[in-house]
Symmetry: D3
Subunit: 241 residues, 6 copies
């Protein structure tokens, strides 16, 4: 069956990824990730303390913050500081990014430190939360590598690669890495996070328009797994490991 995606891609085709490391000169880990028109600055910052619930446990923490500059979207977004609150979508996304990154880090090796991953979307064309995870992973890697080099920590605390992708059902067809126009009219919208062994770290699947069966769901997982492996291959190439 022939499909015509908005940008001519095949259903299982991921948009071209570009990744600029050391994007900001004074951050130890900072990345500019581009997936199609989706473009995000991801930075990593280490703070020498942990949240209250972890004090004295000899264990670190990773937390993420996500925001969009006002014209990253077709309609200008009102800044959260002007609205007076962080909206629910932002909260949902930054919790997802934080949980995903923590899943591939041995927090004990980090010591009593907090790693802040900041993801600031410059332009949004679908898949900003998954691109934040993919790019945030590299920023985290570079930051940890610099800490190892500076002998702040003894060994790299990362335990595996981490890739993420969106997948959905659009016009009754399953496709990965939805751009904004596809995402907008998706019947089912799903985000998948996996490690290099294809194991699952996060699944968030939502029936936007109609419920989905187990079979469709398994097909979505299959196509995601392939896409994530390609993303992790890209990460390997970038990091040269």
């Amino acid at each position: 069956m022939t499909t015509t995606r908005v940008d001519g891609r095949k259903n299982d085709e991921v948009r071209e990824i570009k990744l600029t490391r050391n994007y900001i000169s004074h951050a130890k880990g900072s990345v500019f990730i581009e997936m199609g028109n989706t473009r995000i600055v991801c930075t990593a910052t280490v703070e020498d303390k942990v949240p209250p619930f972890l004090k004295g446990k000899g264990c670190g923490w990773i937390t993420a913050e996500y925001d969009m500059i006002p014209r990253s979207t077709p309609q200008r977004i009102i800044r959260p500081q002007v609205m007076g609150r962080i909206n629910g979508r932002t909260h949902e996304i930054q919790r997802l990014i934080g949980r995903s990154l923590r899943a591939v880090v041995d927090l004990k090796k980090l010591g009593e430190r907090t790693l802040w991953i900041d993801c600031d979307v410059i332009e949004a064309d679908g898949g900003t939360r998954t691109a934040s995870i993919t790019g945030g992973f590299i920023a985290m890697y570079d930051c940890f590598q610099s800490m190892v080099n500076d002998k702040v920590i003894e060994e790299m605390p990362i335990t595996d690669f981490l890739g993420a992708i969106s997948v959905g059902i659009v016009d009754n067809q399953i496709m990965v890495d939805l751009c904004f126009q596809e995402d907008f009219r998706a019947q089912v919208d799903m985000n998948v996070v996996m490690n290099s062994r294809g194991e699952l770290i996060e699944i968030q699947a939502t029936a936007e328009e109609k419920p989905f069966g187990r079979e469709e769901f398994n097909q979505m997982l299959d196509i995601s797994a392939k896409a994530i492996q390609r993303i992790i291959d890209f990460q390997r190439k970038i990091l040269g490991i």
Copy 2:
């Protein structure tokens, strides 16, 4: 293999559900749902307007708010109005409840109205978000039924039943309807929302401690599906339909 769950349940056993309808005299839909020690007041309120993005489209909206009273948990929670903000977990949960309820309602039949589902947790012992969905569905049903009776709307806009359950891997065993003590040390934590045909509406799966494979994931889905069917059977009995 023998397991000993904290409260002696079998791994696929859902805690006893109690549901008191018309719990608050002046709400058209109000339910007190108890799943073990988890106890939640769910109310439904209709407002004769829709959010700005829906104005003039002849279509309604459903939104949910979730909160916990301070001593619903072992440690007293500081109220969000004292903290000065709604926390991320709350945002994540109320978005999940709202999306799930919208998935089984024909919003056009609701007209330009907003249905508010308020879920206030009196005591929390695991599974508050899924119990909020299960209980919120009944509050919504009663509210819509009252609107049909009052000829405010022509026909019931609900298209299917809606049940939700938590499932997790605890001590390497898959079990449903985790209580707080199980949830606390779960390796994998998942929430599943389905309709009466066993179709999927929401999946949120998180590797808290270690990634999980497709096989484990499928087993978790299987056990959830059975649990949700039991919950929907309970809803049928309650509603007598």
Copy 3:
């Protein structure tokens, strides 16, 4: 002179009180108090520190928080965390509850600890602030008793019973324990808090519609005193002391 109150009560008749102790399993003091349709969860929590102005003085503190769930009232209330602020009525009420409870406690016997009394209104049908005081007293008693049993404190710091009632002038008649429909059109609205000896702890009287003379005021105090003694008798029975 014959009066017909909304619910057939006599002018000096208090609505039936029901009180469920240990309403929430993990709180050391927790009560569900019902006065007619007014229903409130009152919980007590001890924190091992005091506000800054009391530090190092060997003396404890009692503070109260009050809130209503959105559908506790005929019109859904917008949550304070959504409004972005606690409203004036809430502030006024929680200050009244805190002051009243402190008046019957020897704060030195509490040591440098803060007792939090949380009053969450599930359904409001008049008299929520006075029912919060009456119920909050029992929650406080149970919490202190548990602290005595656990040898956290040496002796019970409570010095007297504490009862509270609303009273008003409705249709030119003085009546106690106003329900919502009476409260709504009261000419004078008053809340009285007393101890078991009939001594006054708080009086808040407001001319809603017309000023009142000393004679009417004294009659209101008389009828309140009787009602409060009945409430304190109920507390005695409940506590078996």
Copy 4:
């Protein structure tokens, strides 16, 4: 029995009151009231709309706001805009001022307008809430008189004078118009608002240290009534009516 009050006053003696009308040139009603060292700017402003709950009812509203400049007190106060919230005491006071003023105004004669009474404390030495009521009454009078002169309203909507005073039990003695040092160690603290006929408009009595009996309470009311009549005499002289 001889008493020695901090400033040599007799127990029933009100501090000297000074009142400067037209204190701010562009406000139609503005007063600088001084009672001893307590000094407050009270202004009146008319707005041509009413709160939502009064729309279309042909009736006006009066609302009060109260604040203290940071060094009005011995310890510098952090501004509410810096704290991020209005505190409970402020809320309690501004509600009291608003209710008291509304009690002597025929709101129908005001039309669908809101009168804002702003009370900003320059120096606080006890009795700021009662001085705000006494001074706010004159600011309101002047504003309404100007509206009558400008034929914005047909007749003066004020129905009576309005005076307020604090009273308390200090060192077992009943005394009126407590200054800060007296207020600080009062066993009982009470604020009374009355009209020119000696009728009661508001009573707020609090046992700060020990409960009080009916007899003491009646004595406090008696001494308040005399003090308020002197305040209302002062208002008559000021207004020349």
Copy 5:
């Protein structure tokens, strides 16, 4: 060339300044400054700590807060605590006041202390930010003098006088100390802060309506310098030094 300013002043004429010291009894430095109808309470408060960035550096800090009471202006201002935020103009002004005062103080002589200068505008008729600087300087002087007298600090940390004035181009004429009506239609609006030697401490010049040349700018500086010297002469006389 003849000009007719709103209040008959000459273009280089400063309004009459009145200054009441010790305006608030419990503040060690407090001033009521009047420049025409512009009237401001300025108070100084010492706090025994410094902001985090100065901790352990043996150096003090000076910070200013500025606010206006609601009816200080022709249109009633909504209080910042009601708006939920401090507006940009207020922030801009309080930063200017703080920087200016710091410029004439040897912060090392202050020790690790913070001086708070609070400027609360009672009536605004143009030039409130410059009058706040001029009056705040005297409040600061009195506070430091009292600290020297109490041997809290060894010597006066003030290094020079500090005067400030507004200047503008109105109807193509350069004039100082603009009142509200002049300020409102000024083409260019400038605030200048200088010490007693005529050296510059702050210049903020804004082309409200049309850009200005170097020549006009120099004339504005000249006229400001003269006005500020007159203000500093006034300060000398007030302080008797």
Copy 6:
């Protein structure tokens, strides 16, 4: 006299400017401006309404918002939405940007529309507010050009070019376009905004460490004027006009 600036520049040398137009695909005006390591995204957005004070006057408005991503600076900045408020520096800067842009636009030609200029700093190395003005001008130009092309407005409302530069005294030497390390220890810090005719639009000069005389000030203005003309030459080349 030989100086050695941190990056080897001459005292009157502006860092290399790079400017990428159409940086964000869906904004009608969007620019990425780089001045040395200072890098800022400036976007322009038109909204079809004006602030309340301009309604019905047939006149438009220009407003600017400025923010920094957390790792744009050596120390990670806490986001304003997490702090719960916009800080004073941000307010001061965005007011400066807005005023400067309005000074070169005929707001009547814009009609009743608001132009939002968003300046989001990706990396900060001194001079972010002046680079925001220089870059914001191009974003505004492109947005207005697109409106002219789309016949939304009849003619270009821009009346002149607009350039801005920082200048300061560092180690007793006057230099332009300070980088962070220079700015940090500047004795005097000044920002100047001019049009193509060398006329002044904004001057903000601050004595950080010691007051400055008229002579130094004039030298700073001279060096700024030259630098701004070079910036405006750059703008001319970029725009080809």
